[in-house]
């Protein structure tokens, strides 16, 4: 639902990074988006196609890699990955403790971009 402001930021950031280079266009943008976020990749691309018209990023493809949800056990401090479906039922794989803390899974990172 909040894809629009996020997409505006993606465009701002890639154009900023493009400005120091001699490039004709941005071909592909690699993003890592935490599996806990509710962003819809299809909508980000649609907004991006609209917002990027007439810029170096016009027609660029957004390649989204889902970043894993990582939890830390509140008892033995071990970190482990889980899927979104397991979130409400997660137990530490080592000591079966059910109290856990979120370490990552919320990130929105622009990793790199392919340019010509």
């Amino acid at each position: 639902m909040h894809e629009l402001p996020i997409t505006e930021r993606i465009l701002e950031i890639v154009l900023k990074h493009a400005s120091g280079h001699q490039i004709r266009k941005i071909v592909r943008i690699h993003l890592a988006i935490g599996a806990l976020s509710d962003l819809e990749g299809e909508w980000i691309q649609r907004y991006f196609d609209y917002l990027s018209r007439g810029t170096l990023a016009e027609n660029a493809e957004l390649a989204i890699r889902p970043a894993p949800i990582v939890l830390r056990c509140a008892s033995c401090s071990r970190s482990f990955e889980i899927t979104r479906d397991e979130l409400g039922h997660a137990r530490c794989s080592a000591c079966t403790e059910s109290r856990v803390e979120l370490v990552s899974g919320r990130e929105y990172l622009i990793e790199n971009m392919e340019v010509m």
């Binding site: 990074h17 280079h21 004709r24 806990l36 979130l87 109290r99 392919e114």
Partner: protein, 224 residues
Amino acid sequence: MSDAVKLIEVKEEIQADNARVADGLRAQLAEKRTFLVNLMSAPGAGKTRTILRTIEALRDRWRFGVLEADIDSTVDAERVAAVGIAAVQLRTGGFCHLDASMVAKGLAALDLDSLDAVIIENVGNLVCPAEFDTGAVKNVMILSVPEGDDKPLKYPLMFTVSDVLLVNKIDYLPFSDFDLEAMRERVLRLNPRMQIFEISAKTGQGVDQWAAWLDGEARRFLGN
């Protein structure tokens, strides 16, 4: 320029800008000694009524202001202002959440020197507001009984980023199959630090315990 594709490293967090603005706002509010609380919930969970009850309970001690965010109306701000509380309406114009710069703009319209605490009534939505740091010191969420005890499973991020959960409309419990214990277990699994209070903003039940907690946090922040 060649036709070869090359790679430019970006490594930039998309939310970094908002995080910076939020941290700046927190620092500025600490200096001004204004305690900022962000209240989030689904539409209709009772945010405005909870704010009114909370302020009523603590009004003798702290001077409150309210930032009301709405997609396109001023009804909530009018309800708050009607009882003599400084209120600013932020129309988000279709945006589903508040970010830190919108909050900063709203706070600029309040006379912070004459206020100890400001409560943000975020846009009614359990998804988007969870993603945007507003600059608040504490994040508080409401889950109301009619919404069901499965919401921690559906909106895990909201339950993860909140410090306090107010289970509102607790007077509705006898008419509902809401399982308080199951909900509590689901919430604490996501967020072992969550403070949970059962309240009815309508009858006032449980509001004192929640208000006492908030009072303690405000004292700690404001140093008296």
